[in-house]
């Protein structure tokens, strides 16, 4: 694979990765959000795959395949199942309205770019130059996590955050060791399963998955 083509494809995958994070903020339909999350999982897998092929590290290729199976297949499947169980498909009122959260995402991207500059200058290469993308997705995921009300969209925010961390690891250090990656993957799977169970319990208790209702537990 030529360097030019590698750079192009890597940048394209990073672009798709960032756009998916933005679309999560844009959509209101929860099923569409899950679809976009799956797309982001594919983009993340492609980033890892390209890095692995470029540096001829076959372990990384394996990790990339595993990551994309988990993030584009298993997790969206689990979320879709808890969506059909919860019955509610719309994020009715995020705490920050959509236009404002899109503008916030723009500001967060610029912040990530500014914050990543010293890191990029340590060893400039096509992969490290794309590092701000990973940081931006971390920040956007955190933003989605704190401004959304429904349990499912908070899960997506959390997973977005983790996708960003994984992408940063890929881009900065060409991936973490296999054993760490496996640990993270199982942690994630467990977290989503627990959250799915929690969503179901909330639904049976309140008939809703709006997390603001949970304050009644304090009484």
């Amino acid at each position: 694979m030529g360097t030019g083509l590698y750079t192009q494809l890597l940048d394209l995958a990073c672009g798709v990765f960032l756009i998916a994070a933005v679309l999560v903020l844009w959509y209101r339909e929860l099923s569409a959000i899950v679809r976009v999350f799956a797309m982001q999982g594919v983009a993340l897998g492609v980033i890892g795959l390209l890095l692995g092929l470029h540096e001829q590290r076959w372990g990384l290729v394996g990790i990339a395949v595993g990551v994309s199976v988990l993030r584009a297949g298993v997790l969206p499947y689990l979320m879709r199942r808890s969506l059909t169980a919860a019955g509610q498909t719309r994020e009715t009122q995020p705490l920050v309205n959509v236009a404002a959260s899109l503008l916030t995402a723009a500001a967060l991207t610029l912040l990530a770019y500014a914050a990543a500059q010293p890191l990029v200058q340590l060893a400039p290469s096509p992969a490290t130059r794309a590092l701000p993308v990973g940081l931006a997705v971390v920040l956007i995921g955190f933003f989605a996590l704190v401004t959304r009300r429904r349990a499912i969209s908070q899960i997506v925010g959390f997973l977005l955050l983790d996708n960003g961390i994984t992408a940063s690891a890929f881009l900065a250090t060409s991936g973490v060791p296999l054993i760490v990656e496996l640990g993270v993957a199982f942690d994630l799977l467990l977290a989503v399963l627990v959250l799915q169970l929690l969503t179901l319990r909330m639904r049976t208790a309140f008939g809703d998955t709006d997390l603001d209702d949970l304050r009644e537990l304090h009484d």
Binding site: T7, L12, C14, G15, V133
Partner: protein, 322 residues
């Protein structure tokens, strides 16, 4: 590119561009209406119907409502004239024109805004409820659209190192890698969304409605009749054609003449017509399946497209291949 060369062809290219836009814009609208009609199972009025409408309107007596001032009377001329100037500036068929040194992005956006503002002033000038409502809606949309157009084309101008449109287009022709870069793609998508908003097409404004809840453009021109109405219609058709032409030029710049030769120009004009017709047909086809957005959700759409433009600009800094 930026230094105009001598000879007859550059002047001919500009004349041809303006003539194609003026003559072809009503045909483009007719084509889009015809595509829409066919897809909805109607026979349609034919591609040349907008020209027949214009002929009919031009034969009528010129009337202007009592109490309207110069803003109402000058707007049709200003709208058509400013759009014709844009058609001459934008490198639709050739990047080598006598005006290419002045074909700056900021000038083009300012001319677009001039047309929008004069139309809004004309809507206010009539003093009717609809005119004022349409004008206020149009200005709301325009305030969100102009920065996005500027930003998205700025993202394309960073690799070219110049905000001159011919330089951007020529750069994109000579370096096709830029076409598929994330920054370029994001900018084109952002530009496509604002083109729909600026031209008053479906998700933002429905061009074929007269329902007071939804209309934006139609509300401002309700009081026009006769030749003035023909000019306003022609102006908005030309705006659509120019904006689609700009989008096609930036997204798929192949075939645009970069030198002043007869053969290149002869190839560029039919290609331009084909590209714009293709874009128009595609737009009309998707419009059949789209519903108009609620007015309160339009800022969301435009904020999204602004974000895409910002990402395009930042991506061109932090991605190597952009």
């Amino acid at each position: 590119m930026t230094s105009p060369s001598s000879g007859l062809v550059p002047y001919l290219a500009v004349t041809a561009q303006v003539l194609v836009v003026v003559g072809g814009a009503p045909l483009l609208t007719g084509l889009m209406r015809q595509v829409r009609a066919r897809m909805e199972g109607r026979a349609g009025a034919g591609v040349a119907q907008p020209w027949r409408d214009a002929r009919k309107l031009l034969r009528k007596e010129a009337i202007s409502p009592v109490g309207t001032g110069p803003a109402f009377r000058l707007t049709p001329l200003l709208l058509v004239a400013s759009t014709a100037v844009i058609a001459a500036l934008v490198p639709l068929a050739s990047t080598d024109t006598p005006f290419s040194a002045r074909a700056d992005l900021i000038l083009v956006v300012a001319l677009l805004a001039l047309g929008t503002v004069s139309l809004a002033l004309a809507g206010l000038d009539t003093g009717t409820a609809f005119g004022g409502m349409g004008a206020s809606r149009e200005m709301t949309i325009a305030a969100l659209v102009e920065p996005t157009i500027l930003l998205s084309v700025l993202a394309l101008s960073i690799p070219a190192g110049s905000t001159s449109l011919p330089a951007i287009v020529a750069g994109r022709i000579h370096d096709p890698n830029r076409l598929a870069s994330p920054s370029g793609l994001l900018a084109i998508v952002a530009l496509a969304v604002v083109t729909l908003a600026e031209a008053g097409r479906l998700p933002v404004d429905n061009p074929s409605t007269h329902l007071e809840l939804t209309m934006v453009h139609e509300a401002m021109i309700l009081e026009y009749a006769g030749p003035d109405l023909a000019l306003v219609e022609l102006g908005s058709q030309m705006r659509l054609a120019v904006l689609l032409g700009l989008l096609a030029t930036l997204a798929a710049p192949w075939g645009i003449a970069t030198t002043s030769s007869w053969a290149a120009l002869a190839l560029a004009l039919p290609l331009l017509a084909a590209k714009v017709a293709l874009l128009g047909t595609g737009l009309a086809a998707v419009e059949v399946f789209w519903a108009k957005l609620r007015l309160f959700r339009v800022p969301e759409l435009l904020a999204g497209s602004f974000l895409l433009a910002v990402l395009a600009v930042t991506a061109s800094y932090f991605l190597t291949g952009a």
